[in-house]
């Protein structure tokens, strides 16, 4: 099983002195069927007095801390060791068609897991845009409602790669989705949000996954986009199969090189580092992520 070492650094530089800071973090990789976080260490400078943690509503680990001394800079560094294996491919068994999906999902909500319902509706950063429904049909090309959901999903996801351009300058966290859909440019977070909107529009439960991507590829394989930052992708619920992760930025299923940190409805549920300062003026934010394969365990 491949092992990864991840170092994620967030550095705030403030224009003037702040008197206090409050931060909430989603930085600790999840433990899941295909992934285990062997070690996690959090380093905050200046040193907070009250670093604590809580398991959030989605089962992610959230850390919180407060600083009550004058500060001009704040650095948060997390170090993780994670074992991650390739998720098993979805079983070949009968999957519902796209058209059958909403009915099957409704049943699943009633019988299996009511919380699927929250992945069907608008969430703080993912409005249900009618344009997204049209986009989904465009991207899926000639595949219609009678296509099996996994196939439709793969086609629609692949369409993202062609239709959208990865562009770090085009958007910010606050750029609304309706703009991304027109400009057709953005970063992984925008593509994830947009694909989520497409899926929910079609009645497919869709979640947001925040994590990391090993960008230095093994020999012979292409380099993937998303270096030097945290990555984001999508998880879709296929009735009868379960959650399947898909990376629209790279048009591929999320595999052994995708390390899951947190799952939620959208970015706002799992933002890696968020917080506020008392005073301090303008903030300059720098983030650095290094993911390295440390060899099989």
């Amino acid at each position: 099983m491949p092992r990864y070492s991840i170092i994620h650094t967030t550095h705030y530089l403030l224009a003037s002195q702040a008197t206090a800071a409050w931060q909430a973090l989603h930085l600790q990789p999840r433990n899941e069927a295909n992934q285990h976080c062997d070690a996690f260490e959090l380093q905050v400078s200046p040193h907070p007095t009250d670093l604590t943690s809580r398991i959030d509503y989605f089962g992610n680990k959230q850390h919180l801390f407060t600083l009550r001394e004058p500060l001009r800079e704040l650095t948060v560094t997390s170090r993780s060791l994670v074992r991650r294996e390739e998720p098993a491919p979805p079983p070949d068994g009968p999957a519902p068609t796209l058209a059958e999906t909403p009915g099957r999902v409704e049943k699943a909500v009633e019988e299996i897991d009511f919380s699927l319902e929250q992945f069907l509706h608008a969430s703080p950063m993912v409005p249900l845009l009618p344009e997204a429904g049209i986009l989904a049909e465009d991207l899926a090309g000639n595949l219609g409602g009678d296509a099996p959901l996994p196939e439709w999903l793969a086609r629609m996801g692949a369409g993202f790669c062609d239709a959208f351009t990865f562009d770090r300058e085009a958007t910010r966290i606050s750029t609304p989705l309706s703009e991304v859909i027109v400009e057709r440019r953005g970063v992984c977070q925008d593509f994830a949000h947009l694909m989520i909107s497409c899926l929910r529009q079609k009645g497919v439960p869709a979640a947001y996954v925040s994590g990391y991507l090993l960008t230095r590829p093994p020999p012979g394989q292409p380099r993937m986009i998303g270096a030097d930052a945290s990555h984001a992708w999508v998880s879709a619920y296929i009735p009868g199969t379960g959650w399947v992760d898909y990376d629209p930025t790279n048009a591929c299923p999320a595999g052994r090189r995708h390390i899951v940190v947190a799952r939620g409805r959208d970015f706002s549920d799992v933002s890696p580092v968020k917080g506020l300062f008392s005073g301090g003026g303008a903030q300059t934010l720098n983030t650095g992520v290094t993911v390295e394969e440390t060899g099989p365990s």
Binding site: R54, E69, V109, S115, H121
Partner: protein, 835 residues
């Protein structure tokens, strides 16, 4: 047992009053007879009920104005204060009605409490499908960061309010439940105080249920909820309000005072180590319980709405730690969904194992296909509401009021996202008598009743806030849209049944500890003092303007007049045009004074004074409010009449400041503000007059006689000086009188001594180092003044300049340190003891 019944046909009690067709009337029954409790009420009004009511209506209107009872009406982004609308005729509830209502509401409170604890806890009712998944999972008011809070011991829903109406068949229906931060408790209490006094005879005669017991238990239940109260110490409870712009701020202030808890805003609180602290002039104080009137989603910009400026970062995390009681706990708005009302009956069965006693208005959630079909079919008669109320979202529509095409559009809108809507039966509201221009007439009403947790069970406040639309319309009853309120009387069947009024428990001793004064309040007191003194000074200077231009000085020494005018200009941060005549400068002074947009002008200072007083209103007795109203009136005039009555009002304010407020820490800061400002004003005038910077540069020689006389005049010391020095004007004695004389209350020494005295009384708690420093600074200045040599200062302008500049610097330093140490807590807090 029943009261003597007015025989049928004997309707003299209320001639000309008839209910509305097809509606239940509280006063007159179907046969046209006056109901017994109303008959008793009407009889208690004396021989001529209309005369009694007219007098009472007048008294209540006067009381509203005198006590400045108000609500803020939102207009766009701003909110505007309006007198509280109150009809003196109460709604009367019979013992039988009260039985039904109070039992029903207690059950509803228990039901909602269990549902909320489950929603923010194990979510069993979602797993079992008792609660439709969508109503929770797609609900923007379900606050995921608060999940888990429901697992903690203790009550989730501490208090709750329900809006209730009566249908034509006499049945009571709940129209909506308010579970997050319900408003109206305070207004009910205020209404009761006013109406009880305006109609004291009927009130006593009808043995009306008293509210005091309810609020006494409200107070004690909070103390008992506090999870980590220190043994032997009273728990510290605060009342968290969104602040003066909120529509119901008045009642926050009223309730906070009534309950004896400090009224605080988000900025007054802070969190650390999972606990909540109040910023006070004595440092950070741990809070044991919070009465919350800020909507949940605004309570924590870290984990909830990041744009909220009303919250406390870390509040959610503190709520998880359960080291502070929050009433209500965060997240109740999730179950305020109108669509949920359609499920309350089965929920009550499943959750409590009981039948729902008090029904909700008929509600069909369109998320279910059969219900959707029903709603679409009956669109013309139903009320359509959004499942989840959000700002700028779908607002309630009455099918009956829509055109055919509007109805079609609405049907399409619903069909596109059925789960977002519900249809509700339209209740044709029952009517009750209201006083209107000399007679009683029936008005459709909605009443809000209140429930609170009292240690073992819920208790319903025997009263309430009844509202009606004066136009007689019943579609939308909202105080934001011009509705009028009423007191609500629960009359008891038997004499002596009404509980004895008992006074509220004494506010806990902890709140009296002076260092508990919230920093923001102290800050406001300080600036109240400064703006008051500064505004008064400007009024005095403007008063001198005309006499100055007419005086003999003008003829004898025109340079002094020119300098005086320049000083008056400078006092408002203006400079004369080159070559301006005395008349032109005087005109400019007056124009500036009236201009609120001119920084430093009299009008701008008045605006600041009003702003600070508004912020402080809660901490000031009603005498201040009356002056505040007058000041607002003056400020609102097109051409403010500053000279006439204005100075008097400010004088009254100063006297009130000494006489009517407790000489506690707030008062200390008020006085510090006044004395520091007065000293700074004196330094300004003395500097300008003793060392005029004329066209030829700074004056070299000692000032002349007229100049000194004008200085005495401007500093309001001429009279006292003449009394002491028998009219002999010598530069050195004038300087001595203004600067070094301990007995001149308008002199610098006196002022600085006052500053030192008030500083000495401040607590040394927040920072062991800075506070003694601060006090020492004032003492050093006092010593410097005592040691100064007036004759030397009078002879040598350069020396005087340096001396005054030094004094100004020291006072500014004291100002800055006060701010830093007591108001902004910008220093590193020291270890907190006892936590």
């Amino acid at each position: 047992m029943p009261e003597p019944h007015a025989p049928p046909g004997n309707d003299d009690l209320l001639p000309g009053y008839a209910g509305l067709p097809g509606r239940f009337d509280e006063c007159r029954d179907e046969d046209g007879s006056i109901r017994p409790h109303w008959a008793e009420f009407l009889r208690s009004l004396g021989a001529v009920p209309s005369a009694t009511l007219a007098t009472a209506a007048e008294a209540s209107a006067r009381a509203v104005l005198e006590q400045d009872v108000s609500m803020n009406v939102y207009a766009g982004d701003r909110s505007e204060s309006k007198p509280w609308p109150l009809d003196v005729v109460p709604l009367l509830l019979s013992p039988a009605d009260w039985e039904v209502l109070s039992n029903g509401l207690r059950q509803r409170a228990r039901l909602y409490n269990t549902l909320l604890a489950d929603l923010y806890g194990p979510q069993k009712f979602l797993q079992d499908g008792v609660l439709p998944a969508r109503l929770a999972m797609a609900n923007p008011h379900f606050l995921r960061p608060c999940a888990g809070i429901g697992n903690q011991p203790g009550v989730f829903l501490h208090h709750y309010a329900a809006d209730i109406a009566r249908s034509p068949d006499g049945q009571w229906w709940v129209l909506q439940d308010r579970l997050d931060a319900p408003s109206g408790f305070g207004y009910s209490l205020q209404n009761r105080a006013i109406v009880q006094s305006a109609l004291s005879q009927p009130f006593n005669g009808l043995r009306v249920g008293r509210l005091e017991g309810f609020f006494r238990d409200f107070q004690s239940s909070l103390s008992n909820l506090a999870p980590f109260r220190v043994r032997g110490e009273d728990p510290r409870v605060v009342f968290l309000s969104p602040g003066p712009a909120n529509e119901t701020y008045f009642e926050h202030a009223y309730l906070a005072r009534h309950l004896g808890h400090p009224l605080v805003e988000g900025a007054d609180l802070t969190t650390r180590d999972g606990q909540v602290f109040l910023r006070t002039v004595g440092g950070l104080k741990r809070v044991d319980a919070v009465i919350r009137r800020v909507d949940s989603s605004f309570c924590d910009p870290l984990e909830l709405d990041p744009h909220s400026v009303l919250g406390v970062p870390g509040f959610v995390h503190a709520a998880h730690g359960n080291r502070v009681a929050i009433a209500n706990r965060l997240g109740g708005a999730a179950l305020e969904s109108a669509s949920l009302l359609g499920f309350l009956k089965p929920l009550c069965r499943a959750v409590l194992g009981e039948d729902l006693r008090l029904p909700s208005v008929g509600t069909w959630w369109c998320g279910h296909p059969e219900a959707l079909a029903y709603v679409l079919k009956n669109l013309g008669s139903l009320v359509i509401k959004p499942s989840f109320r959000v700002r700028g979202g779908f607002s309630t529509r009455y099918g009956a009021l829509l055109t055919e095409s509007e109805r079609e559009a609405l049907a399409a809108e619903i069909a596109a996202n059925p789960g977002d809507y519900c249809g509700q039966e339209r209740v044709f509201l029952g009517t009750t008598p209201a006083w209107a221009g000399g007679s009683l007439r029936p008005v459709p009403f909605v009443m809000r009743l209140f429930v609170a947790w009292q240690d073992r069970d819920y208790r319903v406040m025997p009263g309430g806030l009844t509202r009606f639309d004066p136009s007689g319309e019943d579609a939308i009853v909202s105080l934001q849209r011009g509705s009028v309120s009423k007191d609500t009387w629960v009359v008891s069947a038997k004499p002596g049944q009404a509980p004895r009024p008992a006074p509220l428990a004494e506010p806990d001793a902890g709140y009296q500890r002076p260092e508990s004064t919230p920093s923001r309040v102290a800050d406001n007191f300080y600036w109240f003092g400064r703006y008051l003194e500064r505004t008064a000074q400007m009024v005095r200077l403007l008063d001198r303007l005309d006499p100055l231009l007419r005086s003999e000085v003008a003829a004898l020494d025109p340079a002094v007049v020119g300098d005086s005018l320049r000083i008056l200009l400078a006092a408002q941060q203006s400079w004369p045009e080159d070559g301006a005549t005395a008349g032109e400068m005087a005109a400019q002074i007056r124009v500036d004074a009236d201009d609120p947009d001119h920084p430093g002008s009299l009008a701008a200072n008045l605006a600041q004074l009003i702003r600070v007083m508004d912020q402080l209103k809660v901490s000031l007795p009603p005498e201040f409010w009356r002056i505040l109203r007058r000041l607002r009136g003056i400020a609102a005039q097109e051409q403010p009449q500053f000279e006439s009555d204005f100075g008097q009002q400010l004088g009254i304010l100063k006297a009130l400041g000494s006489e009517t407020i407790a000489h506690d820490l707030g008062w200390r800061f008020l006085m510090l503000g006044r004395w520091i400002e007065r000293a700074l004003q004196l330094i300004f005038l003395a500097g300008e007059f003793l060392l005029p910077t004329g066209r030829e540069g700074p004056a070299q020689g000692p000032p002349g006689e007229f100049r000194l006389q004008t200085l005495l005049h401007f500093t309001d010391t001429l009279f006292t000086y003449r009394g002491v020095y028998h009219g002999i004007q010598r530069p050195d004695s004038i300087v001595a009188w203004l600067i070094a004389a301990p007995e001149n209350p308008r002199g610098l020494r006196f002022q600085v001594d006052q500053v030192a005295e008030h500083l000495a009384a401040l607590p040394a708690v927040p920072s062991q180092r800075s506070v003694p420093d601060l006090k020492a600074t004032a003492l050093r200045l006092g010593a410097a003044i005592r040691q100064s040599d007036p004759s030397l200062l009078a002879r040598d302008p350069q020396l005087a300049r340096a001396f005054l500049a030094g004094a100004r610097e020291t006072l500014t330093e004291i100002n800055d340190r006060l701010t830093q140490v007591y108001f902004s807590h910008s220093e590193v807090p020291e270890a907190i003891q006892g936590s």
